[in-house]
């Protein structure tokens, strides 16, 4: 089977092409954040004598666990990383959900509504997550 590649200039910058690229870049960013998060978590847990699992649990659920790092630059860095991860995950998921919904919503008007609903939901959920993680 021959491999086929098409340069971006010949694909045309439609909404679909843009979202395809956006989805790819966000997922690469997520893998990068996962690796950086695990390495960073190992470093700060070693420096503070805390458990890596506790650090990760608190980072994602700051309202459900005690901060094992104390108030320091590590706390702000962890919060920034979790916020970045949630934002990239949310951005990545928007197009995925739309692709699935497009198979079931056939008419142009229902597809437009599906698109509006998902994007609105993603923006609202992201804002809530940023606020709760940063202020907890």
């Amino acid at each position: 089977m021959a491999s086929r590649t098409l340069p971006l200039s010949k694909r045309g910058m439609t909404f679909e092409t843009f979202m395809w690229a956006f989805t790819r870049f966000t997922v690469i960013a997520m893998y990068g954040l996962i690796i950086a998060g695990i390495i960073g978590g190992l470093i700060v847990s070693a420096q503070t004598g805390s458990n890596l699992g506790d650090v990760l649990y608190w980072a994602f659920f700051p309202n459900m666990a005690e901060n094992p790092l104390g108030v320091s630059w590590m706390t702000w860095l962890a919060k920034l990383m979790v916020i970045a991860f949630v934002l990239t995950a949310c951005g990545h998921g928007v197009h995925g959900v739309l692709e699935i919904w497009d198979d079931y919503f056939i008419s142009p008007i229902s597809r437009r509504w599906a698109r509006n609903i998902v994007i609105t939901y993603a923006i609202l959920a992201s804002l809530v997550a940023i606020f709760k993680i940063w202020t907890a």
Binding site: S3, R24, A89, V97, I100, I106, A125, A129, K132
Partner: protein
């Protein structure tokens, strides 16, 4: 636009595409599961007690791992094939490697969750 497909799930699962087709279906189910998980996560962050309880539930965690890990590993495979299209010539081999990695990773993660839930 859109196709009219009246194919029952079990007929679809028996489709001869096998590994690659199953990977496609699992990726979609995994993505949908992660979308639900994301909603539960946001509600838990807001402070809804039932959602916080759900996040701590071992069965929910196992389901999340089964689908979430597959979505992540299959997504990595798709990204790698996008970046190195030559590998498409070894498509079936790549899919088989992906399944092997998934079974090992998911198996390990599930054992860890169940050991945490039931002790031992």
């Amino acid at each position: 636009m859109g196709l009219k497909r009246n194919v029952p799930l079990f007929t679809a699962l028996g489709y001869k595409g096998q590994g690659p087709f199953l990977a496609f279906i699992m990726h979609r189910i995994g993505g949908s599961a992660l979308f639900i998980f994301f909603t539960v996560y946001i509600l838990a962050l807001v402070g809804v007690p039932s959602m916080q309880g759900l996040m701590r539930n071992w069965a929910f965690q196992v389901l999340l791992l089964v689908f979430g890990l597959f979505h992540a590993i299959n997504g990595l495979r798709i990204t790698i094939l996008d970046l190195w299209p030559k590998l498409i010539e070894r498509y079936r081999t790549v899919i088989n490697i992906e399944w092997a990695v998934y079974v090992l990773a998911a198996g390990f993660a599930i054992v860890v969750v169940l050991r945490g839930a039931f002790g031992g």
